[in-house]
Amino acid sequence: MSQSNTSVPAIRYRGAGVTYAGGVKALKGIDLDIPAGQFVVIVGSSGAGKSTLMRSVNGLIPLTEGTLEIAGQPMPDKPGRALRRLRADIGMVFQDFRLVKRLSVLDNVLIGRLAHVPTWRTITGLWPKAEVEIALEALERVGIVDKAYVKASQLSGGQQQRVGIARALAQRPKIILADEPVASLDPVTSHQVMQDLLRINRELGITTIVNLHFLDLARRYGQRIIGLRHGEMVYDGSGETVTDDQFREIYGRPPGDDDFLGGVA
């Protein structure tokens, strides 16, 4: 699953911005290159633009200014087949897991294969064997294949998030976006999930971007940390070197207890 073309960055923003209808500027002046295979953590207070930035990568929120290129290809500006194909290569993991509760774990992971299977097969549930195989492999990679036929609603939070990651993996993506993936989980499980993401990034070389709330997680897992404040990038460096001063710049205040998860992996 290695990137073939390592000279072209996986993601490139130039002068990118998002302005909402009321004039609110959620993002402004973003110039950012993310090389293929990098593990990036984005931090910032709520409303700083983390979610907006993440959703602009797969077009859930379109840019209103500037450009975005994914692996050298400009972002399609209209919904349609091109956008869907792009999204098929980008897996997304959500804070609230977003599984179909009444379906089995396996069916949920198969949703990751939607873009590769004809519609009539997906809506009737007649998935080809090869696709089921891919889904089971994804489940094995996150270590939860024994629950393949269990109804999603019967799993714990941490297990559901693993299924969410498996669903993203099943897409065989080039990029994985994780929007506050551990915000609903306890400390021990949070570390497990972060380690899963890191391991997937290292083993499969998938470019990974994670929005994080907790500073200690960011420092520990972020190969590269980007700090957003009021929609602008105010920090871009490695995880180890974020000092408390720089933190103040990103968050506009000194770090407090809420910013640390605690717990040991």
């Binding site: 179909v100 949703i111 519609t119």
Partner: protein, 259 residues
């Protein structure tokens, strides 16, 4: 200390409403020819009718078996096929999932128009188009069921959480897949309950559709009535009463389990 001021009730508004209601009632009563006194005076005629109708002719019961079955079949077909067809109609009429504004607008109005016609009207129309008999009844109830269920169902769909559909789109699903995996799973229990409700309504309707020639018990009812066989008419009405009560209890129990 200043005494609190009692807010003045909006006399104009409530007065207007009351006036409108009274006017409506007066106009209607005149048109209808409300005559309770006359009714009481005519009770003699009623008594005679009741005497002629009782006791119900239970010996006629075996002849009702086949029409009764036909009634249930008509109701079943109408409910299931109408229920299936109602799904796309409901989906397109739900703002968060409808593909575009024009489709939504057209579908919504189509739905509202379909809802205006009572079941017996559909039965009359279909009896004209395809001839008398249970097929007309089944078609009528199918259309009626689409009207009833699609309205209820589209309102349910409008209340869904849009996060899940967003996740399906993020994974690369198209519109149909977004609906199938993101929207519908959230509302299946409600759909099932609407289906049962429609079946209840349809059993009631199918009992009487035969009065206009659309099959089922209604046809035998009409033939007996025009022959003034009132003990048989009252038997049929009794059968209808028991059947509807039974289905209602059953349906209520199932819907409570689904909730």
């Amino acid at each position: 200390m200043i005494a609190p001021v009692r807010p003045k009730p909006r006399y104009a508004f409530w007065g207007g409403i009351t006036l409108a209601l009274v006017a409506m009632t007066a106009w209607s009563a005149k048109g209808v020819g409300v005559d309770f006194i006359g009714m009481v005076c005519n009770i003699g005629g009623g008594k005679r009718l009741l005497v002629e109708s009782f006791p119900p002719d239970f010996g006629f019961l075996p002849r009702l078996f086949k029409p009764f079955l036909e009634t249930l079949q008509i109701a079943l077909i109408g409910s299931v096929i109408g229920g299936i067809l109602a799904i796309p109609v409901a989906v397109l009429a739900a703002r968060p999932v409808s593909p575009n504004g024009l489709v939504w607008f057209l579908d919504r109005n189509f739905m509202n128009v379909m809802r205006t016609l009572p079941d017996l009207f559909w039965a009359m129309l279909f009896a004209t188009a395809v001839g008398f008999g249970p097929l007309a009844g089944a078609l009528a109830l199918t259309v009626f069921t689409v009207a009833v269920i699609s309205k209820l169902f589209s309102e349910s769909i409008e209340a869904i959480d849009t996060n899940l559909p967003e996740a399906i789109c993020a994974a690369g699903g198209n519109w149909i897949e977004m609906v199938r995996f993101g929207a519908l799973p959230q509302v299946w229990p409600q759909y099932a309950s609407y289906l049962m409700y429609a079946f209840e309504l349809n059993v009631r309707s199918s009992m009487v559709l035969g009065l206009v020639g659309a099959g089922g018990l209604g046809m035998i009812l009409e033939s007996q009535r025009s022959n003034f066989e009132y003990e048989r008419v009252s038997l049929i009405i009794l059968v209808v009463l028991v059947a509807v009560l039974a289905i209602e209890q059953l349906s209520g129990a199932i819907r409570r389990r689904l909730a």
